[in-house]
Symmetry: C2
Subunit: 133 residues, 2 copies
């Protein structure tokens, strides 16, 4: 399977429906598509993108603090497939010994962690870009 590097282009909150969409765009091209996410996940992504401070750690801040305390680094986020209108994501983490693991997750969680990391690459399965982009 091929993957293409992407980035978050913007978040959209549809006032009429209350739906939250995060738009991902190809870096070396102009295909883009949207993933529907929950309201708190949208807030978690938006807060980090805008660098807004929050008095107490949000859930993904807490996640990053736990990983950081054990020298675990988020090294890549992938959107791996779309199945019955549900997007599946994965994150790759490396531990202090260089051990690399892959964890299955929802795109919203992967992206909310990604925007809290340091220039974490995002890659999207080309089948998704071909179908939706």
């Amino acid at each position: 399977v091929g993957y293409s590097p992407c980035r978050i282009s913007h978040l959209l909150i549809e006032e009429s429906t209350g739906n939250q969409l995060v738009f991902l765009r190809e870096i070396n091209g102009d295909r883009s598509f949207a993933i529907g996410i929950g309201p708190l996940e949208a807030l978690a992504i938006q807060r980090a993108l805008q660098g807004e401070a929050f008095p107490r750690p949000l859930t993904h801040d807490f996640c990053m603090a736990m990983l950081g305390a054990f020298s675990i680094t988020l090294v890549e986020v992938r959107i791996v497939r779309l199945e019955h209108d549900t997007f599946f994501a994965e994150v790759d983490l490396t531990g202090p010994g260089g051990r690399r693991v892959t964890i299955d997750c929802r795109p919203s969680d992967a992206l909310a962690l990604m925007v809290r990391g340091s220039e974490v690459p995002l890659r999207v399965n080309d089948d998704i870009l071909a179908a939706l982009g």
Copy 2:
């Protein structure tokens, strides 16, 4: 500072206001108090308490999967203080080498992780129990 072992006694959703409350109760006594939490955090706690399966991992399931992949165990949750109507919590984690770290967090995140762990003890600062219990 003294701490007393507690447990989650129940969750309450106030239909009229939409507020979510998690009630904590002393194990060796009958003092109890409530902490207001967000709707998604309430769902995250309720799902795990009821053992409900969800098609995709919720955020705290994802957290536990990341910790587990690196043999990190949640060993204790504490409600440490109440300041201007905000409760502060901490979780203790141990890594594979036995290293123990404490991470600052919101009670809702601490409790949502706790109910996904294996008999994780919960302790509450006695000052909170004395004031509210």
